[in-house]
Amino acid sequence: MIGHKLLKLWSSGRSRWRLHEGITRCGKACYSSCNPKVCIVGSGPAGFYTAQHIIKARQDVEVDIYERLPVPFGLVRFGVAPDHPEVKNVINTFTQTAKHSRCSFYGNVNVGKDVSIDELQQAYHAVVLSYGAEGNRSIGVPGEGLAGVYSAKDFVGWYNGLPNCRELSPDLSCETAVILGQGNVALDVARILLSPIDSLKKTDITQPALEALAQSQVRRVLIVGRRGPMQIACTIKELREMVNLPGTRPEMVATDFEGVAEALKDVPRPRKRLTELMLKTALEKPGEKEQERRNKASRIWGFRFFRSPIEVLADPNHNKIAGIRLAVNKLEGSGEGAQAVLTGEEEDVPCGLVVSSIGYKSLSIDPSVPFDSRKAIVPNIMGRVQQAAGLYCSGWLKTGPTGVIATTMNNSFDTARSLMEDMDSGTLDLSAAKPGSQSISALLEKRGVKPVTFSDWEKIDNVEMMRGEASGKPREKLLKVEEMLQDFSVNAGH
């Protein structure tokens, strides 16, 4: 079969296969300037999966990925919890894409400031926006700006080494912390707050965060949601991690679970398993061993349902928070579409730390790009930005800020397919050659911007891993952009 023969050709000599790549679909031998050039803004999972799919689909497309930070990988590096290293394995896939001959990475380039979308569109046949959601939804209540109130985005950024969260210095000297929101990010925050320090020591959590958590007085974390147990947004893996977290015990309100067991009959499997685990944890009398474990536990966690924040209460003497006032809700309707309705009742919960985990939010990158500020996404149909030829989007910017890496992967492959369709059908005009990175690099140089290449990142990567070795961590992340921009070639081998 032809396939096998070509395969043997490939495995016997890679360079012979490479020659084939120079021949375009139109059959004529081509100079690289004829090749379609695509630019991707953002180097997180969306950017990389879109690039991967495009490169695989057409042998002539060149893809350039631009990233604002000197380091790639977006939320895989800055969002995934330090104690979830397996989730970060996807970096290996992204690394292979970045090192492909038709892919280039340009870090330290702020699209919207160092170069405009318009300039990118002039240099490339297509531009894909995959820059995710760097903002967060605000709670919208008085007292939200008080010391002691943080967005989960910033809190996670702090323990994961996001440069602009370096100086967060959250005050962990209180006993009770309240997390608003019950998604996986909320559970990550709860778990990091209550994990035994020894299990965090061997992760890539930042050193300042590790030290702060080692001194933390937080012993009780309440994870608060507007609706009920059947609407909780987290997934079972994260719930199981809380249930099994050493040194902790669960504390729930039994009445919150009235009617839940009965409602489970016709519910799809994922929701059913999740709810059953919650019911078991909240209501079932534990066996002897588990009871003993709970008695010895010094840290407490629990869900609180049917509560919406109405005000963050200030400690009059210390200009920081003293507690949070919550409105009591009841549910109208059931299932995913159930609505929380105020009952008029209120409840004050004393606490010294509030982490608001109610959603990330995308921001507009450039006034020339259509942006739906209500949904906080770029309006699109199957990844094609509406009313903007040659502009595409993928990832959270396309669908809103929910979804795990697998979701983003499918989403990005969809956008790549739309782009490929447009190239094949002629909707995207490929007849004129485009300069691609040649012109953008010239522009950046004129503006004093020095892009970080992927091999520069590999040097940073090595430095971080070497620094981590000393303390038994997979890496010790560099925390400042200036540090990342250092020339490491001198220091290689230290």
């Binding site: 070509l6 695989k56 397996e86 989730v87 394995n89 996807v90 997934t235 398993r273 697998a406 397919r417």
Partner: protein, 196 residues
């Protein structure tokens, strides 16, 4: 057709060949301390679980290593497991595999577009496949961790499994694995995106 299959295979190989290397010191799993085979991690997890996974991993890497070399030699017929992958366009791709092969890495070896983002660590659902009815019941029950990850997969069905957890045995000869079509209408048809 044949050309695109070849492109797919070679791209698959280009992208996946490094994963077949059994040398731990070059493996990012080992570097990230997340390889269950490494001594460092054995101490960390300390559970009986890791032994089961170790055997699986050892089988996997050894199995692949051998079949890599063996593809041009005569194969022991007792060892051959015939597998059919059905890709997202509905195309049937028959593959001759060996007992002990891992369905995910076998797919990679043949350029089939089955992602394995977390590299078989039960931390994602990107290797989600549907198993044909005749063979589904022959598979050992999924462990709880696999079920947890399956719960996150799009278009979960009764016959869903994670490819990285399926190790080929002689009873699985003739197994058919279908890649889920995550359609263009994934978000347009009112489906609610999974929470993060």
């Amino acid at each position: 057709m044949a050309t695109s299959a070849a492109v797919r295979s070679s791209m698959g190989l280009t992208l996946r060949l490094s994963r077949v290397i059994p040398d731990c010191s070059t493996c990012s799993l080992y570097r990230l301390r997340s390889c269950v085979n490494s001594a460092a991690n054995l101490q960390r997890t300390g559970s009986a679980d890791s032994f089961r996974t170790i055997n699986r991993h050892l089988q996997t890497s050894i199995g692949l290593y051998h079949s890599e070399e063996g593809s041009s030699n005569a194969e022991d017929p007792e060892d051959v497991v015939n597998v059919v992958y059905i890709d997202r366009s509905g195309q049937r791709i028959p593959v001759k595999a060996k007992v002990g092969d891992n369905v995910l890495y076998l797919a990679h070896k043949h350029g089939i577009e089955l992602e394995g983002a977390c590299e078989a660590s039960l931390a994602c659902s990107t290797c989600h496949v549907y198993v044909n009815a005749a063979h589904f019941d022959k598979l050992p029950e999924p462990e709880e961790r696999e079920d947890d990850m399956l719960d996150m997969a799009a278009m979960l069905q009764e016959n869903s499994r994670l490819g990285c957890q399926i190790i080929l045995t002689p009873e699985l000869d003739g197994i058919e694995l279908t890649l889920p079509k995550v359609t263009r209408n994934f978000y347009v048809d009112g489906h609610v995106p999974k929470p993060h």
